[in-house]
């Protein structure tokens, strides 16, 4: 994976990790985390998202919120690719414990401008061991 990033206004590129461990709708953390990620994308930092534990539920396909009277915000995840947020690490063990597979998740992609705008998947299902080393590698960790 490429880590070439433009420098931000402060002339510094930090590795920002947004950790998502909570389910959507029961609490607002998932929605407001996504709002931070979308705003943060303008700062040209090296951004990753981690989906651990119940956080993986944020990415389920087919969310329909009409009956609970709350806006379905899951389509906003599809916009992440346009904002150059392309590294969504989803923990395999978390999926499995919850009876989910990658097929239950939305199909999120980004277009690689360095490679003839090839469409690439944004979701990277990783093992807990891989997640550990991704977490170790960060400069700033924001948890929701």
């Amino acid at each position: 994976m490429s880590d070439e990033m433009q420098e931000g206004p402060q002339g510094e590129v930090k590795k920002f990790m947004y950790v998502n461990r909570k389910a959507p709708y029961g609490t607002i953390y998932a929605l407001e985390a996504l709002e931070v990620v979308l705003i943060g994308a303008a700062f040209d930092q090296d951004v990753s998202l981690a989906f651990i534990d119940d956080g993986v539920f944020q990415l389920t396909d087919g969310q329909k919120t009409d009956d609970i009277g709350i806006k379905n915000f899951s389509p906003a995840f599809r916009a992440l690719g346009d904002y150059d947020v392309t590294k969504l690490y989803v923990e395999k063990e978390s999926l499995e414990e919850r009876g989910l597979t990658r097929d239950d998740l939305m199909d999120l992609t980004w277009e690689d401008e360095d490679n003839d705008w090839e469409e690439k998947p944004s979701i990277r299902v990783v093992s807990r061991e891989e997640m550990k080393s991704v977490l170790s590698d960060q400069d700033v960790i924001l948890s929701f």
Partner: protein, 130 residues
């Protein structure tokens, strides 16, 4: 060393704001710098000027306000989180046609970019929440 502090829960209900406050005092006592305290989610409720806690209890919004004045801290309430929850300063209340406002001295309302900027500028970002 430069610290950024993030507070994600409101006063009294969760200990997050109390712990962040004790942590902030220790950061300053040890000679470090606090580049910003950013209040997000229900954390924006720490910035109310209308709280009237029992006499024998701590006054969380006043304590933050006083700490900010003594140490010239930058306390920022996220505008999107604040609007959703009914935390408005005088200017914003006017813009929204509201006859009241409720932000206490020492806090200012600004955008989420201030959180990212703090994370970039600080050597350490520490989050307190639930």
């Amino acid at each position: 060393m430069k610290f950024a502090i993030v507070v994600n829960e409101g006063p009294y209900t969760h200990q997050a704001s109390d712990t962040a406050f004790q942590f902030a005092k220790s950061v300053l006592a040890k000679g470090h710098e606090i580049v910003r305290v950013f209040f997000y989610h229900d954390g924006v409720n720490n910035g109310t000027k209308l709280a009237v806690p029992p006499q024998d209890d701590r006054h969380i919004p006043n304590n933050w306000s006083a700490l900010a004045k003594e140490n010239e801290l930058d306390l920022v309430l996220c505008i999107a989180a604040a609007q959703r929850r009914g935390i408005l300063d005088e200017k914003e209340a006017g813009r929204q046609g509201k006859d009241s406002n409720n932000v206490i001295d020492g806090f200012r309302i600004s955008g989420l970019g201030q959180l990212i900027e703090a994370g970039i500028q600080a050597d350490r970002t520490v989050t307190f929440g639930d």
